[in-house]
């Protein structure tokens, strides 16, 4: 009697293990589930935009640095530059300065 029950449990356990294994294998956990193509496109676009933003930031930083350097140079020239040599002449003027 005892061995009959044991055999029954063993058969049931084997059957359960078989189905569990089958379910596990049928699920193919080693294969990635197919992804929503819209999400994939969005991720690709995000990466592209991040790359573009980095490039734009580099260009802006470069131009900004050049601008600040030029501004400092111009300001220094405006404040420290010696007055240009000027002399009174009797030539006909090319232009005339007037109240602006």
């Amino acid at each position: 009697m005892t061995s009959h029950v044991v055999r029954l449990y063993a058969a049931a356990g084997t059957l359960a293990a078989f189905f569990l294994a089958w379910a596990g294998i049928a699920a193919r956990p080693w294969v990635e589930p197919p992804r929503d193509p819209r999400l994939v496109a969005m991720e690709q676009r995000e990466q592209r935009l991040q790359r573009d933003a980095t490039l734009v930031q580099q260009v802006v930083d470069r131009r900004w640095a050049a601008y600040r350097a030029a501004l400092a140079q111009r300001q220094a020239a405006a404040t420290a530059a010696p007055a240009p040599p000027v002399r009174v002449v009797t030539l006909p003027p090319v232009a005339t300065t007037r109240s602006s």
Binding site: A78, P84, R87, V89, P93, V94, R98, S99, S100
Partner: protein, 285 residues
């Protein structure tokens, strides 16, 4: 000698390039004109869509390099001149009646000028973020210094093609060779020759109008918030740049004749007084 004339920044502009006609020369003339027109779009207070007008309206704004640079130049000038040169005279100018382009300002009106407006307003410039913040109620007028700055920029562009002179309605920038430039005196014209830098004239003899019988003009004294009352009719300065000449001319005009004679440093200065005298100062004395 190549010349190009056009209307911009509320005045007649003339570009003179001393070189033979060539594609390079014409490209430089076109580039200088384009730059002047571009700067006008940013820096005029008469176009409600200009960058300056939007800054005046919003009070705080991230601005482009041109406006940032001119405001920084103006602030530096205000500091150096101890407030005599002041870009925050906008409200005082409007109060005196200069509230539209000068061509549209009525020359005679019975409407009295408004009460003097406060000048020396607060401006904060953050160069790192390119942001300008104005104290509430403060508005900027960059008229003269913007024109000088634009003339200097145009000269830098044209100089790549040859010796050049830019006449921006009386603000003159020149490069490359000695240029004879006329200065109006009380009884004629004096001709000065210089090869680098700029000249500018500030005076009450051109942009003036009448409100309720009182003469108004565009040179505001920041100390009073009214058109300056002094003994000078106009002041001409030759300096290292047209923008700097503009600053010095306005500053000396507000100083008055006797102070201007003392303060004129190494720059060449011509003063014309309201009683008809012509005085040479600085490097011309």
């Amino acid at each position: 000698m190549l010349r190009r004339r056009f209307q911009a920044m509320g005045t007649q502009i003339e570009l003179v390039l001393d070189t033979r006609p060539s594609a390079t020369a014409f490209r430089a003339l076109a580039a200088a004109e384009a730059d002047l027109r571009r700067l006008e779009r940013f820096l005029t207070r008469f176009d409600p869509h200009s960058e300056l007008s939007r800054l005046n309206e919003l009070g705080t704004m991230v601005v482009g390099p041109a406006l940032l640079e001119v405001v920084e130049l103006a602030l530096d000038a205000r500091q150096r001149t101890r407030g005599r040169f002041d870009p925050t005279v906008h409200n005082a100018l409007v109060g005196a009646g200069y509230n539209r382009t000068f061509a549209q300002v009525p020359r005679n009106s019975d409407a009295p000028p408004e009460a003097p407006a406060r000048c020396a307003g607060g401006i904060r410039v953050d160069g790192e973020t390119s942001t300008i913040e104005l104290e509430p109620g403060v508005r900027l007028d960059l008229g003269g210094i913007a024109k000088g700055y634009a003339a200097d920029r145009a000269a830098a562009i044209l100089a790549q093609a040859g010796p050049c002179l830019i006449d921006a309605g009386g603000d003159i920038a020149l490069r490359g060779r000695p240029w004879p430039v006329g200065v109006e005196t009380s009884d004629g014209t004096l001709t000065l020759e210089l090869s680098e830098g700029g000249l500018a004239t500030s005076g009450r003899d051109r942009r003036h109008w009448t409100r309720a019988g009182a003469e108004q003009h565009h040179l505001i004294d920041p100390a009073t918030g009214r058109p300056a009352e002094g003994d000078l009719l106009r002041v001409t300065v030759a300096a290292a740049s047209a923008a700097e000449a503009e600053v010095q001319a306005k500053t000396l005009f507000l100083a008055g004749a006797s102070a201007a004679l003392e303060e004129a440093s190494n720059d060449a200065v011509v003063l014309v007084t309201r009683d008809g005298r012509t005085l040479l100062a600085g490097a011309l004395a």
